[in-house]
Each structure stands twice: as structure tokens, then as C-alpha cells.
Amino acid sequence: MTDGTRVFVPADTTALSLGADAVAATLRREAAERGDAIELVRNGSRGLYWLEPLVEVEVGGQRLAYGPVTANDVASLLDAGLLGGADHALALGPTESIPWLAGQSRLTFARVGVTDPLSIDEYRAHDGFRGLEKAASMTPEEIVAEVTESGLRGRGGAAFPTGIKWNTVLQTDAGQKYIACNADEGDSGTFADRMIMESDPFVLIEGMAIAGLATGATMGYIYIRAEYPLAIRVMREAIERAEAAGLLGGNVLDSGRDFRMEVREAAGAYICGEETSMLESLEGKRGMIRFRPPLPAVKGLFGAPTVVNNVISLATVPIILDKGAEYYRDYGSGRSRGTLTVQLAGNIKRGGLVEIGFGRPLRELLYDFGGGSATGRPIRAVQAGGPLAAYVHPSQFDTPLDYEEFAAIDAMLGHGGLVVFDDTVDMGEQARFAMEFCAIESCGKCTPCRVGAVRGVEVIDKIRNGENEALNLELLRDLCDTMVSGSLCALGGMAPFPVISVLDHFPEDLGTLAVARRPEENPG
């Protein structure tokens, strides 16, 4: 440790993808050359991704932001007096006052980007482990009741009430129970799970330990997608440190109760995000869907009662225990309680992580937070809720972010990803990709999905070539119906939704009109 000025350079995947390591190295070197004492902290990202790499300096107990900073900017920043918080063309003022951040309600993400992800001391200093301490003094029934009363619903996509799931596991008698954290985060346009794991891993550990105390599970697995090598490394390191500190192991926080954890790496199959497929994969098998019943909560991993929850669901539990169910439930609208972690992605000017209470209109996210498209062209479509969900049309942009409101327009919030497209998008091509993706990722267990998706691509190709249009459009609708009603799981059962949304809302992009339109749309 040095006594120098604290300077923060994020080290999450997105910041690194934009050159944060080069910024950090240059900063170290230039500061040394100038004889400036700095303490360089590699924090996580605050999720203001359009401003990454976002460098912060702590001056007089306040953090001031500069961004986006490249390695080439470092010398001029130091010359201008960065370490004293001086003004500069890249200066953004106090980080917490940046409107994009100030307008959010960061509950689950309270520490994300603020702290050094792997420092247990900092985690504690920022209210960490308070939820677990409370839980350690409560009965399992009391913990489950608190989570139920908070109104928390699963953030992995299906929005099932978390407390009810936990209660089933608690009430099922068994010698061994498990917590299986779903960190497969397969949906395009989503990165909230990754951010938690890379930027505040202890909150996930804390949430899983609480789930263990609540249900009697003594072992937790985190199933992380292989596409997230950094998240895997950070999570593994955090677990080791938590064990060394006695936070995990035979006597969690002196509660006399046992809870251990392990990271398991996935291997690039989208279907393994579906919970029963994930359990098969954790058991070391192909990720084939299981028939239900039994529910995983009754007979899950290795046949034992298992809580399967998404990263965000579990990482939200500590603040619920700490501040109480009511505090959390007071955010939100209707039956969608608490906060939603929206991920603004794709063709968006100000992309990143926006955590806000449910109920705000989609439009506000796209334009007030997002600033419209990155290209400056009109937004034509938004795919909300992942690759199996509808493309939302601009006429629907006033829909509030709320599970039921989205369901009412045949769309979904899912894991909270919003993928924005401008008016150069070819929606016929997007419909085709939905079927192609399903064909690539189908586990092959049932015919409507395995064969239907391949047929779907063929039929869409014919329509796009202007062959037998009326007949093939009808065929496509039928095929979608068959897949929706006949598939065993939501991959085949929902992959038609984006296609149907294109047929319903963007018909001009599929068929004769589109064929006529396309050549002039792609000049050069």
C-alpha cells in the first residue's frame, strides 16, 4: 500500500475490451516519471459502458470521474492536474452525480464498480455480509419468509417467485441439498451476471450462503459460461478468499452451519442455461432437458432437492435480508417488485447497466438513459428479453418495464437485456437468425424443435427469395404454432416468438415488399 492519491481504473471485461489495461499501465508509468504518488485500484465497472475506460480519482473523500480515457490521454490528464481533481476535456464531475448514474436505484449493484472486487475488507466496509449476519441469527423459515415477502421473482427469465422455490426445497426432507447458481447468461444483450461476478463476487457468495442457511443446502455450485473466462477466474479467487476468511466452510460466520461452494465451467451450449439441462451438465452429462415433474426443487442435482437461481436473484438476497423485505418491495410496480437490472445493448448511444424500479416506460430507457441509437438513426426495433423473445415495435415503446405489462404485448423482460436496432436492420434476416440459432442450439430431444427450426430457416429463405410467398408465409405461421405447442422446453417453444413478432409488426420485411425494397436498402 502507498499513501498516494487513489486512482481507479476498471478491470471488468468491457473496460478491458476498450483498453483499460493500457490506461492503467500508462498511468503507473507516467505518474512514476512525474514523481506523483498514486495508489492504483483496479475496481469493477460502474456499468457506464459508453464512458469506459472510466478513470476515477478520490479527492477530499469524493470520487471524480474522467472518461472515456485512452492511454494517449493519460499524460494530458496528469499534466492538467488529474490527481487534484482538476478540470479537463474528459472531466465528468463527481461520479455519483453523473445523471445517468444518479437516476438509478442501485440496490443489487450498490458496490459494483465502487470497490476492489476481491477485497473482503472493502466488501465489509461497504455493508457487505450484513445480510448473511442477519440470516445466521434467523431460522430457515424466517429467512424464506423474508425473501417471499420482498416479492423477489427470478431474474433468469421465468420470473418465478424466489421465496416459493426456496420454501419447496426447505420443506423437502433430504440428507443432501444443493444451491445451483445459473451463471450461463446466454442471452445476447445481457451482461448483468457477468458484472456481478467480475465486479462484486462476494455479494453472490453471500447470497448463495444465505440460500444455503434458508434451505438446509450445504453445497453450492456456480455454473458459469465458458465465454466468461475472467468471471470464472474472479469467482474462483473470491471463493478461495472467503474460505480462508472462514466465511464459507464448516462454520459459516460462526453459525455452526456448513456451506461450501465451487465454480463449474460450462462449455458453450445455450440450452444449458435452461435449469434442468444445466443440472444434467453439472452432473457431467450432455445438456439434455429433463421431463418435469419432478421439479428441481424436489429432485434436482444428483437427485437431491436443489435451488436453481440466476446470479441476479441470488445477489439481490443480501440487501433484502439487510434492509428488510419491505424496503425492497417498495420499489417497483404491480406484481413486479424491487428493481430490474436493465442492460442497454446493441445499437445504443449510451449503453450499459441501468438498475431501476420496475414500471418505467421502455421509451425512457431507450432515449433518456440510452440517448437513442449509436448511429443517430431512428430506432426501428428492440429485442427485449433475449433471443427467444419478440422484437418490440416503436409503437409499443410506451410499455412499462413490468413482467405482466410486457406479457400483455406478447413480449418479455426476461433477464433484462434490451438489444436496440436502427432503421437499417433487415427484420427478415433477424427472423431467419432466430430459427438458425434454435437449430444450432437445439438439444435434439424433440422433433418440433430439432426439425422445425431447420425447416424454419428454409421457409424464411424461400420467402426472402420471393418463392411462393403466400403459401410459405402460411407455412411459416403453422410451423411456428407447431413449435410453440409441441416443444418440450422453451428453446423450441419460444424461438418462434421473434419470428411471429416480425410477421406481426414488420411484415414489410418478409415477402414481396421486402424483396423489392432490399436492393436499394443496401447500396454498395
Binding site: S188, G268, G284, Q343, L344, A345, G346, G417
Partner: protein, 166 residues
Amino acid sequence: MPANDARTADEQAMTEPDRQTRQTIRAIAESGASQAGALLPILHSIQDELGYVPEAAVPIVAEVLNLSRAEVHGVVSFYHLFRTDPPGKQTLYVCRAEACQSMGSRELERHARERLGIGYHETTADGRFSLEPIYCLGNCACSPAVMIDEDVYGRVTPERLDELLD
């Protein structure tokens, strides 16, 4: 050979480099065998060590874990990220998913294929690069994204990709 030789018949008739590879595989399988759901972690360790999961690994892992060869083979082939042929020195993964599509990844894919002169799941003749599709790197606010080995890059234009590959 002693009668209690634990090696398979294939193992007993092979050349020196083969033998070393097989010993590595066996050692990895044996050291990972006691954990619950051992097969995936073992396959990952093999791929981390060798760069791929060779055909020869299937019978060894099957024997150590007391599974059938078909079961092990089924798992290797089910998962997109296990490869059964040696990769190039570096692997370029281009994100094909929707957020990246919205920012021009289709053009970037085309550029990657043309520049390397290969298709997906192929390796350049000089052995420098393998090209693989990937479906989201969680970098979707800064699309389009690619990953080279384990390093992710954001807002990648065709020109930037050229720089990265040089």
C-alpha cells in the same frame, strides 16, 4: 507387460509422443475423477492442457470414470466449445449474436473469413489462427465484439480486426 497393466490395448502399442499425451490425459482424468460430476471438469482440463480433446482421450477418460466410450464421446460432441482437432496458435472467436449484429457483426464475420481465408471451425494453413463463432461475450454494450484466446475486444471495426490479427 505385467498382467495387471491398467492401460488399454491401444495404449500399449504406440509411439513415444502419443504415449506422453496419453499419460497426460490419464493423469488429468485420475486426479479429477473423485469430484462429483467429474466429466466436464476433466474435459476442460484436458483441453486447457492440450488445446483440444483428442479422440484418444475418449477411451481413457471412459475407463477412468467407468463410463462407456459412447457416453464420453456424446458429451464431447454435445458441447460447442470442446474441439477434437488441434487449434491454431491463436483462436479468433467472432460474436454472431443479436447485439453484435445490430452494430455490423455480419460484415465483421465476412471480413474475418476473407482476411484469414478460412471458414468457421477451420484453421489457417500456416497454423496461426483458428476461427470460431461464438454467441455472446457479454460485451454487448460495446458491440461488435471478438475474443482472441481469452482477451475480449469491443467496438471492433474491420480495420481494428486487421490490427489485432497482425
